[in-house]
């Protein structure tokens, strides 16, 4: 695979043109436009993230089939079949580069690609065809629809998932795999092939590609694994338009736990350290607090502690800066969950994600204040223990507002907006 800048793509009509699932055995000799290199990868990443989210929520295989089907249609489908095949291949190989770079990345990619493959494979089984075959069987008087006549005898190691679920009979080291379970065999092969391939890719990456592509692909590759894929919350919109006077009320009703905590601490201590000011400040900008209101808001608290002169001198600048009114005038975007979760708050800091950074006792107390039942609390704590912090936040959201949030929480501003949508739809003519 070569990456090119030219606008025109060499024809790839030699590619098989139906909806097959590639095994990604070799990188195809095709040219890829630089924009596509990144865009395709991002689209695939959206699918993989949806898969990871579905798995973490413990969705059953049937639900996962649907999830994969929908998310693939949404992100990876393009009208032209051969284009789609190319997109599938290209995006996969780009992400191999992205995710070969550490054991942790490798592990994630391997599980998600394997799950994706498994469900795409399952989806392929054409139900209609099966029904027709049944008809033929019945017409011949072989009415045995539920009996799987053929079993494959394979070493148990080749079907670990069937063994783990006790879904096969095992005897003296061999598993008896029914025809309908063959997917498991294919998936194991897929997985072991990909696992080895990633090691090789890693070697190539560290020895040559990284250096050779340092001005072109390397920055893209390095950015992709940590990229935030949700919408941009740097500009306020319909649901994000709050003013100073209802900020307390809104904080109570619609802030995610991380922001609620910062907000309460600020009201309590009349001060926040840098990390907290950034995290909360940018969030507030995202929910539509105007610069003047923001200055007034921070001033009101800080001056209780440091005096107004010092506030103007030391703090006002950075608030204006966040709004792009000072310094380089770049617009700072509000932090996404991923960034907040991976921050490392020190002593006296209040920023970060409570699901990750609070002690179990503190988190339980905070969730209790949000009105979670003990049942809801256990569900949340279970996700926390498994390090699924965003999912824990999503479950909190679902418990607090009593609706499901299938997209999952990826951004505090998204949490806020979803919550506002729900609250506003409940009280259509909210009197001001």
């Amino acid at each position: 695979m070569e990456v090119h800048r030219p606008q025109k793509r060499a024809s790839s009509s030699d590619v098989v043109s139906n909806a097959t699932i590639p095994l990604y055995l070799t990188a195809p000799p095709m040219e890829v436009r630089l924009e596509e290199f990144e865009l395709f990868a991002i689209d695939r990443l959206r699918v993989l993230k949806a898969v990871s989210d579905g798995l973490a929520r413990g969705k059953n295989p049937k639900e996962m089939d649907n999830l994969v089907d929908n998310s693939w249609k949404e992100h990876m489908t393009v009208p032209d079949v051969s284009e789609m095949f190319n997109k599938d291949i290209i995006s996969h190989f780009v992400l191999r580069l992205v995710y070969c770079r550490s054991d942790e990345l490798k592990k994630w990619f391997l599980s998600m690609e394997t799950a994706l493959f498994r469900h795409r494979f399952r989806l392929q089984k054409p139900e209609s065809l099966k029904e027709k075959l049944r008809q033929v069987e019945r017409s011949l008087g072989q009415n045995s629809p539920d009996i799987e006549p053929i079993y494959y005898k394979v070493p148990f190691e080749e079907v670990p998932d069937l063994v783990a679920g006790r879904r096969v009979f095992i005897q003296k080291g061999y598993a008896f795999v029914a025809g309908s379970q063959l997917v498991s065999l294919v998936v194991t092969q897929f997985r072991s092939h990909l696992s080895k391939a990633l090691i090789l890719t890693n070697r190539k990456w560290t020895t040559t590609i990284r250096e050779r592509e340092k001005d072109r692909l390397t920055p893209i590759v390095e950015g992709l694994s940590t990229s935030y894929l949700g919408p941009d919350y740097s500009q306020s919109n319909e649901y994000a338009d709050i003013s100073l006077k209802d900020i307390d009320q809104v904080a109570k009703s619609s802030f995610p736990l991380c922001m609620r905590h910062l907000f309460e601490k600020l009201r309590e201590d009349h001060h926040l350290k840098h990390g907290g000011r950034m995290q909360l400040g940018l969030f507030l900008k995202g929910v539509g607090l105007k610069l003047d209101d923001a200055l007034a808001f921070w001033r009101a608290e800080f001056t209780k502690k440091v005096g107004s002169e010092r506030f103007d001198k030391e703090y006002a600048y950075s608030i204006r800066h966040n709004y792009g009114k000072e310094g380089k005038r770049t617009d700072y975007t509000p932090y996404a969950c991923q960034k907040i979760i991976s921050s490392a708050p020190g002593v006296g800091d209040h920023h970060g994600c409570p699901y990750r950074h609070f002690s179990e006792d503190n988190l339980r107390a905070a969730l209790g204040r949000m009105g979670l039942s003990s049942r809801g609390m256990e569900d949340v704590m279970d996700k926390v223990r498994n390090k699924h912090y965003q999912l824990a936040c999503t479950l909190t959201f679902e418990a607090v507002y009593g609706t499901s949030c299938d997209a999952g929480i990826n951004h505090p501003n998204q949490y806020f907006e979803e919550s506002q949508k729900i609250l506003k739809s409940k009280t259509p003519t909210a009197p001001v």
Partner: protein
Amino acid sequence: MTREETENRGEDMVIDVPQTTNPKTKIENPDEFNVHYLRIYYGNMFPYTDIHKWLSYGHDGKHPGCDEYYFGRREFSFTLENDVYLRYKSFKNASAMEDAIKGSFPYKIDIGAVYSVDPDKRHAYAQTGTNVFTPVERELVFDIDITDYDDVRYCCSGADVCSRCWPLMTVAIKVIDTSLREDFGFKHILWVFSGRRGVHCWVCDAKARRLTNEQRSAVAEYFRVYKGNENNARKVALMGHSLHPFLARSYGDFLQKFFERDLQATQSIFSSKEKYEKILEMISDEDIQSELREKWENSARSSLSEEDISRTRWEQLKSTLQSKKQKSAFSLMNLKIPVLLSFNLVSNVPGSNAAEVSKQMNHLLKAPFCVHPKTGRVCVPIDPNNCDEFDPLAVPTLPQLIEEINSGGSKMDVDDDVSERNLLGRSIKFFRSSFLEPLLKSCKEEIESSYNTKIEKSKDSFSW
């Protein structure tokens, strides 16, 4: 004549479980267990050659197909007297291992994986940039602790064990050992007493040593009945209409009898509210839960013995589930509950913590024939075919062993002669005859055959 040959003659394979010691003699007193005893033990009694032979898996340099660096790539770790913990130690051969152990008299010796390169020199390889230091082989191991069964253990708490609760361990050994052999087809399985309150299982077949982490956890999952963790009520998993052959066999062959007869007698697991609540929690159908709870709460006063109350309630539980058969669409599943419950309680094999050990290749596990630093007991092998007779409290402690040698005047030089009259000697003998010799035999065969294939292949490549 080599030693193996000598011993092979006319040996019967039955282990003698040491019973000459007084089970009451415990040494929990750390003063009694000190480096002085370890010096004697590791100086004269520890079976270095056997351990080395075992972990060499036939790579003894005698066959051209041998990998002479195999043993040297095995990780050992030592825990020293003052809690100093040394990882990634490795030894070229038996005498290097012996020297290292005699040089520091570790309180604990752990065995890890075989790595791609000598663990001791891993830093040197790291300099070369490529990621080559990685585990390549590791026995499939299970670490079962008596505290995994605390839900049905009322005689002891924490680290204590007694003759009333140890049978829980015994039945777990039977269930797992049978499945490892019958279902998974493994042959070279070593069970070892952990020295205090549990057992370790080492599956040493070549195939087992090469399992990936994913395959390891598949085996562990195969044994597991409930899902959930200690903070989540564990619900019995209900799926399908009949039992998997593994569950059916385990229940029929071991669990039912043990659960209904022995466990009711020793632990009376339904006799009080505190006890039966733990079990009710595992039934996912809330109607059944409350129906039984009501019945039992109202029958609190009775002249029956605890054991009889417990038995009655178990029967009630079973018949309640049966009676639901008509009403519930999931009737057949209800019949499974008793089976699964007893499985869950009696044989929740890799308990929450134990599972981890079996899932990761690079995990460490205490070496057989080590001495448990708290009890002073030697980690001797257990014969799975006679595990009912094994009494953890009768396992010799170091002071007892040493005393025995001193008084009995029995010559204790493992490398030349293993005395049958000696407690440790009998364990070593059992280790050799029932585990080591068959293992080495099949290792040699494997080395031979893979060597021949290689030769064949190279011939092919010449002719092509």
